[in-house]
């Protein structure tokens, strides 16, 4: 039996060699458990910092949140032992994700933002990242007044090393112009991103999908297809991008590319069901809903799909209606699914999610988004994709 430190070193060695993904997250969690077991807070701290980074960018912000609240408390107990700037750098990721969990109250989010703001001020950092987050939260809630207010604060605040990277900042500006329906300025702002001059781990991944619908509205078909193909190539099944996959499905549904849309749905659904950041699930399901509604409109009743074991639809052929615990052992690889039952499940899920968020936010923004999606039908067209991308 190797010693504790040998085991930790082995884990760190493997972690360093791995790309982001569930394997890496699993290893880090194991390392953290070992460190906790041996009461080595210093090692636990370091591994948690790494876990925060990986899980933030691999679609598991809830894991980042757990790890972050631990290191925040540990930092406060022993402030001389740890790197404050790194802590503050990661703080903004965690704060940005709070909005995605509908059971966390607005009051709690505000308090957390106050805490972050206090710590930033105390260490002499500007509040630019905080205003950016506040602005993004306001956009999700469709609160125009607040969006404008924070947009102004954000733009006038100094740029320092506590900031998001320039590509992320630029992307957020693009989102703002799209929010105010100014596609022209959005495209102009996006130019350095679209020409590849500005990029990072999340950009252009998040920028491209959000441009698709506005481009379709303006009949910029070729550009939309190009950006779709580009996005499909780089999203790389990263569960961090399930909302982006939702936007791709919306695009595919509107352009009658059902086959590609179903591929995405099948591929990403397991990650969607596991995701605890439910606002992303909402965006995914919104795209899925359009996809299957339009597919049904095109005359299809049923399709063959591979669905995750835990998903139980009612009334579908090939599914055990009285699904009990034991039929977990029987996986049905591919099943014939009634599109209507799929739509029922998706739309119920959407309504449920919208209710959670709207009740928490005290608005009806999510519900309104579902209703608005119904009006997209006018945009439906048939646009073949130039190349098939897997």
């Amino acid at each position: 039996m190797s010693s504790f430190l040998d085991q930790i070193n082995q884990i760190i060695d493997q972690v360093n060699k791995l790309p982001n993904g569930n394997t890496k997250i699993g290893l880090l969690e194991e390392g953290i458990r070992l460190a906790d077991l041996h009461q080595r807070e210093d090692i636990g701290y370091e591994l948690r910092e790494e876990l925060i980074e990986v899980s933030t960018f691999w679609g598991a912000p809830e894991k980042a949140l757990l790890a972050f609240s631990w290191i925040l408390a540990e930092y406060d107990r022993n402030p001389d032992q740890y790197d404050l700037h790194h802590l503050l750098w990661q703080y903004k990721w965690v704060i940005a994700s709070l909005d995605d969990f509908p059971h966390i109250s607005l009051q709690q989010i505000d308090q957390a933002m106050e805490d972050m703001s206090r710590r930033y001020k105390e260490s002499g950092l500007g509040l630019r990242p905080l205003y950016k987050i506040a602005c993004e939260h306001a956009m999700t809630r469709k609160d125009r007044e607040k969006v404008k207010y924070f947009q102004k604060l954000w733009r006038s605040e100094k740029i320092d090393h506590g900031n998001d990277c320039s590509a992320c900042e630029r992307d957020s500006q693009v989102s703002y112009y799209l929010f105010v329906n100014d596609l022209e300025r959005a495209l102009k702002a996006a130019e350095p991103i679209l020409s590849g001059k500005m990029k990072c781990g999340e950009v252009p991944h998040v920028t491209l999908p959000e441009l698709l619908l506005p481009l379709l509205r303006k009949k910029e078909i070729n550009l939309a297809v190009d950006y779709y193909l580009w996005a499909a190539k780089i999203l790389n099944r990263d569960p961090d991008f399930i909302a982006e996959y939702g936007k791709l499905m919306t695009f595919l549904a509107l352009t009658s590319n059902f086959k590609e849309g179903i591929k995405i749905f099948e591929k990403m659904l397991p990650a969607v069901l596991e995701a605890k950041a439910l606002s992303r699930r909402f965006t995914f399901q919104l795209g899925a809903s359009l996809l299957f509604h339009y597919l049904q409109d095109s005359g299809k009743d049923s399709i063959s799909l591979r669905l995750p074991q835990e998903l139980k639809l009612s009334g579908s052929k090939g599914l055990d209606k009285n699904g009990t615990e034991t039929d977990k052992a029987k996986k049905i690889p591919s099943q014939n699914v009634q599109i209507q039952s799929l739509i029922d499940w998706i739309d119920n899920d959407l309504l449920h999610l919208a209710k959670l968020f709207d009740e928490r936010n005290g608005t009806n923004a999510f519900r309104a988004e579902i209703d608005e999606a119904k009006n997209l039908k006018d945009l439906c067209c048939v646009i073949p994709l130039k190349k098939e991308e897997d």
């Binding site: 060699k17 569930n22 609240s69 925040l72 966390i104 957390a112 591979r306």
Partner: protein, 623 residues
């Protein structure tokens, strides 16, 4: 007559050394490049004349044999620093051309312009020459053009302060160019013979023209063999042997095989050496790339497919455009097709091994499991051919996917190492085979297998699913152990743990604790909450909706275990409770699960209780 540069030469030199050149030894590459370009220009001149023009005829008559670079080192002595001369018998320069190349440099005050200037012969010549100022304060160029028989011999003397002089010499040299460099203090090592030869071989070892180094009486050809993979061999085996030796000489690695590479697109050829060790995902091997036989980069990035990290390549490229950094090529369609062609070469090699030397293939796959896994994921043909040969960890030890598939009715896998560790020993004892897909690419490979074989049943399981496969109790056994089952549930409920009783191997294992992903998350959450401040603790409370069944751990008692049998016979509820608690805590510790505050209390209370109980067995003596 004295002229003045119209530019800040020092600025340009700084620009060069900071932006274009990483290290000062590149002046050697630049001088070699100039020599090669000049020789090629001279050949073109003759070819152009081959249509019968008088110029061509006269040139052919006079210059039967050229294409030779001579580098001479005159070592310094006590009073002087060494001098280096580079002599080529290429096209040479006319006076007008000398002025023109300087003008080209004069316009190049930005890095991008410098790169543009490189695209023609004169611009390249001038910029190449400028790099020499990194090692020499003064550069002397003596040149005579091959364009006409009566071309004068010119001397150009440039200094790094920005002045230069041109004069016509009163003697005649053979057509070509001679460059003389005086060692700058601090650059002595570049002017030592050994280092000079090393650098010449490094950059020009594959060049098609003879390169000779002279120092005193020593003479050495630095590229006697030309391109190793272009040579003729009596057999394929001899060729591979030769290439392996070349690989060893170049990288000091005993490679296990050499794969010739060729792509029509990009006009690319070379060798891929199969590494004798498995590199890691993050430390991809770098490749040595030559552009038209001149070394371009030691770590070219995007020429070889991503998945091919089982090889280290030496590649010569003729028709691809390098980026300014010279570490990669422009990502265009041509490059993409070239990369595909190199990928095909590598795949075909493996396919060939598959047909002709299956044992050898097995060894390569064993060694480079990860790279081949990446390859199989990327390409369907590779998947079909190699999936069965790839090694996976299973509850019965390492085996290939093919062996595993044949030995079980149902493919069952877990996707987390931690989950595998929990259940593997118990699964093995039950003869249940579980595949560990917790390493890179493995889950994706199994999903791909499922997609390609929709009729096979692949089952992704959670640790707790294993207990469904364990043997159930008979009705009598169930009745007998009913009180244990009931009490255990009640006792462990506060710890979010459900219990059951089954029969399983090995007999000496009293309980099996399984904690699925969701349950593990809840445990992590509880642990974070214990230390977090009030605000974050309350945020965590609201992270997920109320705990569901899936957040429960599972403790499965083994009816076959003697200890458990004795527990069943105990009627003292208090004692039984303590035993259940201790088995639970012990199984947590065995599984590397940190205890939360409640569980820690349980452990302490349990231990103290046992001590007390033990002491109570000893009759008290009067002190």
């Amino acid at each position: 007559m004295e002229h003045q540069f119209r530019i800040n030469l020092q600025g340009i030199i700084d620009l060069l050394s900071n932006n274009l050149y990483g290290e000062s030894r590149v002046f050697i590459r630049e001088l070699l490049q100039n020599g090669v370009d000049a020789i090629q220009a001279r050949s073109q001149l003759i070819d152009k004349g081959a249509d019968g023009s008088a110029l061509g005829d006269s040139l052919r008559d006079n210059d039967i044999n050229f294409g030779h670079l001579k580098i001479e080192l005159i070592p310094g002595n006590s009073g002087s620093l060494p001098v280096l001369s580079f002599v080529d018998d290429g096209i040479g320069l006319t006076e007008e051309e000398v002025h023109r190349f300087l003008a080209t440099i004069g316009q190049s005050s930005k890095t991008s312009n410098l790169w543009k200037a490189r695209e023609n012969f004169l611009g390249q010549f001038g910029i190449g020459l400028l790099s020499c100022f990194m090692v020499s304060e003064e550069i002397v160029v003596i040149t005579r053009s091959a364009r006409s028989e009566d071309a004068p011999t010119l001397e150009w003397k440039g200094r790094s302060d920005g002045t230069y002089k041109i004069r016509v010499l009163n003697y005649s040299i053979e057509p070509g160019t001679q460059v003389y460099l005086n060692c700058k203090p601090g650059c002595e090592s570049m002017f030592e013979l050994d280092e000079l030869i090393t650098n010449l071989v490094y950059y020009g070892g594959l060049l098609p023209y003879k390169i000779e180094v002279i120092s005193g009486k020593k003479r050495q050809i630095i590229n006697p063999e030309g391109i190793p993979w272009h040579q003729e061999f009596p057999s394929e085996t001899k060729k591979i042997e030769y290439l392996l030796e070349y690989g060893k000489k170049t990288f000091d690695v005993d490679f296990i095989d050499a794969i010739p590479l060729r792509s029509k697109i990009g006009k690319v050829d070379g060798v891929a050496f199969v590494l004798p060790y498995a590199p890691t995902v993050a430390q991809n091997p770098t490749h040595r790339v030559y552009l038209k036989q001149m070394l371009l980069s030691e770590k070219a990035e995007n020429l070889v497919p991503n998945w091919a990290f089982f090889v280290k390549c030496i590649i010569n490229v003729n028709d691809l455009r390098p980026t300014a950094s010279r570490e990669s090529f422009y990502e265009d369609e041509k490059l993409q097709k070239t990369r595909e062609a190199i990928g095909d070469n590598l795949r075909n090699y493996l396919f060939h091994l598959h047909r002709t030397q299956p044992d050898r293939l097995r060894r390569v796959i064993q060694l480079h499991n990860l790279s081949i896994k990446a390859m199989a994921l990327e390409n369907d043909d590779c998947f079909h051919m190699f999936m069965d040969l790839l090694t996976f960890e299973t509850s019965k030890g390492n085996m290939t996917f093919g062996e595993y598939r044949r030995s079980t009715d149902q493919i069952r896998y877990v996707t987390q190492l931690d989950a595998f560790r929990q259940i593997a020993p118990v699964a093995a004892a039950q003869q249940i085979q579980i595949l560990n897909a917790g390493y890179v690419y493995e889950e994706a490979l199994l999903e791909k297998y499922q997609a390609l074989h929709p009729d096979d049943e692949l089952q992704k399981i959670q640790p707790s699913d294993l207990s469904h496969d364990l043997e159930d109790l008979s009705i009598e056994e169930r009745e007998k152990s009913h009180h244990l089952a009931q009490l255990a549930d009640v006792v462990l409920q506060p710890y979010h743990c459900m219990t059951q009783i089954r029969k399983f191997q090995p007999d000496d294992l009293p309980v099996l604790l399984t904690i699925d992903g969701e349950a593990e998350f809840r445990r992590d959450l509880d642990r974070s909450k214990e230390v977090a401040n009030e605000l974050w603790s309350s945020i965590m409370d609201h992270l997920s909706p109320a705990a569901s069944i899936s957040t429960y751990a599972q403790l499965c008692f083994n009816y076959r275990n003697p200890l458990v049998k004795r527990l069943i016979s105990i009627r003292d509820k208090e004692l039984l409770r303590r035993c259940i608690e201790m088995l639970y805590v012990q199984s947590l510790l065995l599984g590397h699960h940190p205890l939360d505050a409640k569980e820690m209390k349980l452990l302490n209370r349990g231990l103290l209780g046992l001590i007390e109980w033990g002491l109570n067995q000893i009759p008290m003596k009067d002190s």
